[in-house]
């Protein structure tokens, strides 16, 4: 080290006590850009995956799309062996099971979220919250097995006949022979599967309501329910809509449990909720591996494409609602 430097940085020179400063590390200059590009590449991978999926689905279903035209959307009989490719039954089943699931899960989820946010002791709340979250972790196939070996016999022996004997039984939607398997049972079990997701998102959204506003409501002499209903819900509405759409998306694509429970090969739109039916996912699960005829395979992939598009739309709508919820609570906080 020159005498000049030791004048300029006398402290360092004194501390080192020696002429030489520590050698500088050789900085590997390209490291940072490489790192950055690595992360971007990995980020882009998911985009590549999605577009690849979309592309593959379109390409492989092209044969069916051009050959079958609108037939899948207009006829109900799915009988590829006989040249029939009507997907209406599958579509119907998909939507109806989802509807039943949402009709059951959403009120339950709202109630549980209300409990967790307003009504419960923190310790008990942790237990309840964790149990519900565990429910989310249970794999679909377990729900399916539990469903078919435990729930179906119960439905067949007790619940469905009970409904049929009640005033509700007069509705044709509850007619038919109770077999346990069917659209209704599948919808009920599906509800239990999506319950944890809707609950969690709703709970998070309700927690974002500013405390001052809730206090103001209570300060006017409102009960907890009244504050929740008129004030919290208004704040949380977009978020709850997002939660509902998320649940819808999941229910639409749910495969294993529904396959176990909905009854299988069906070619007409079920007239009663207690009749067997099928969903797109169930049709795929049941028949894909046995399909040999290229047109059959292509048609099945077309079903997959339809399912993909539907769930993508619901997911995007859900994200839009959730973004709106976050923005609104941010501006009001």
């Amino acid at each position: 080290m020159s005498t000049l430097e030791s004048e300029v940085t006398p402290g360092i020179a004194r501390r080192r006590g020696v002429a030489d400063a520590a050698p500088r590390r050789r900085v590997f200059r390209p490291a940072d850009p490489i790192f950055r590009w690595l992360t971007i590449a990995c980020g882009a991978t998911v985009a590549v995956a999605m577009f690849a999926l979309a592309g593959v689905l379109v390409v492989d279903s092209w044969q069916a799309i051009t050959t079958l035209g609108l037939e899948p959307l207009r006829t109900t009989a799915w009988n590829p062996g006989g040249g029939e490719y009507g997907a209406l039954t599958s579509l119907f089943g998909t939507f109806v099971t989802t509807l039943i699931a949402m009709a059951i899960a959403v009120p339950l989820a709202l109630a549980i979220a209300l409990l967790l946010v307003e009504l419960i002791h923190p310790l008990a709340g942790r237990v309840v919250g964790t149990t519900i979250e565990m429910l989310a972790a249970v794999p679909s196939i377990i729900f399916g097995m539990w469903g078919i070996f435990v729930v179906v016999p119960l439905m067949q022996k007790y619940v469905e006949p009970w409904i049929q004997e009640s005033p509700l039984g007069r509705l044709s939607v509850f007619g038919g022979t109770p077999m346990g398997l069917g659209v209704f049972t599948a919808g009920v079990v599906l509800a239990l599967m999506i319950l944890p997701f809707v609950t969690a998102v709703t709970r998070d959204v309700l927690r974002m309501v500013p405390q001052v506003v809730k206090e103001a409501g209570h300060g006017l002499g409102a009960t907890t329910f009244e504050v929740m209903r008129s004030i919290s819900m208004r704040y949380a509405l977009s978020g709850i809509a997002g939660a509902v759409f998320l649940g819808l998306g999941r229910a639409l694509g749910e495969t294993m449990a529904v396959t176990f429970l909905i009854g299988g090969d069906v070619n007409t739109i079920p007239r009663s909720l207690f009749d067997p039916g099928t969903t797109i996912a169930a049709t795929l699960a049941n028949t894909f591996s046995e399909a040999t005829d290229p047109l059959h395979v292509s048609a099945l992939i077309e079903l997959g494409l339809i399912l993909f598009l539907i769930t993508m739309v619901f997911q995007l709508v859900a994200q839009a609602w959730l973004r709106r919820a976050r923005r609104m609570s941010g501006s009001r906080a």
């Binding site: 002791h121 923190p122 500013p210 001052v212 506003v213 809730k214 206090e215 103001a216 409501g217 209570h218 300060g219 006017l220 002499g221 409102a222 009960t223 009244e226 008129s230 004030i231 208004r234 704040y235 009001r332």
Partner: protein, 286 residues
Amino acid sequence: MALTMTDVAEGRPTIAPPRVAEVAGGQRTSEEFDELPSKLSVRGLDFFYGEERALCGNSLEIKEHRVTAVIGPSGCGKSTHIRCYNRIYELYRDHKAGGEIWFGGRNILEPGTDLLELRRRIGMIFQKPSPFPMTVFDNIAYGLRLHFKLSKGELADRVEDALRRAALWDEVKHKLKEPGLALSGGQQQRLSIARAIAAEPEVILMDEPCSAIDPVATAKIEELIEQLKSQYTIVIVTHNMQQAARVSEYTAFFYEGYVVEFGPTTQIFENPREKQTEDYITGRFS
């Protein structure tokens, strides 16, 4: 007024005790003070946040149709104290109050108290103006719909009435269908006042109502308090001593959870009995 609006707007500090407003018929002696009817009677109020004690044996008399100010340094328990009056602390699990608060012939800290009715009769304005996520009209109507059975016409009348009493009607009468959040800060606070008034309370608690709004709006609210006290009993927590001197007839000085001194505002500011009070008034600590 001893201090002008300009003084307030320019944040003029005072070192000498400020001159107290001449209130018509203002009480200045202890004897006259004792003779007035008490709206709220606090006796030995304690408060705990879990294990931690925040209020110690507070005793106060809140006089009817008067403005009582609660002053003291940050963290001394002023807000905690008045939040006991409407038991809003019940929302939180480990907040506990002990002692007695007499209101309407009953001790409202007793377990059997009807909280819904209590909170209607004792309204609260918070530091942060918090309109509900609804229209201006619905904000006012909220309390009305909760507690009363009213036809549409009656509802509209009462909403207008509340807004007039809060000196907000002229400013919002064309904006009733707009969201409450679209109003300015000062207007939102007056909206909160109107909202509380609509439920026909007897007492209005104000927890630092002017902290979060601009000085011009503050002056409007202080004028409003002056008008309101003939109808209601007002308790106002404030960290602004000049404000306390301007608007109140009685002042309570709190320090570390204790009521150090309580009496007519003129006496507190001109002739404090306790040294602590004097130190605070003269700005030796804040």
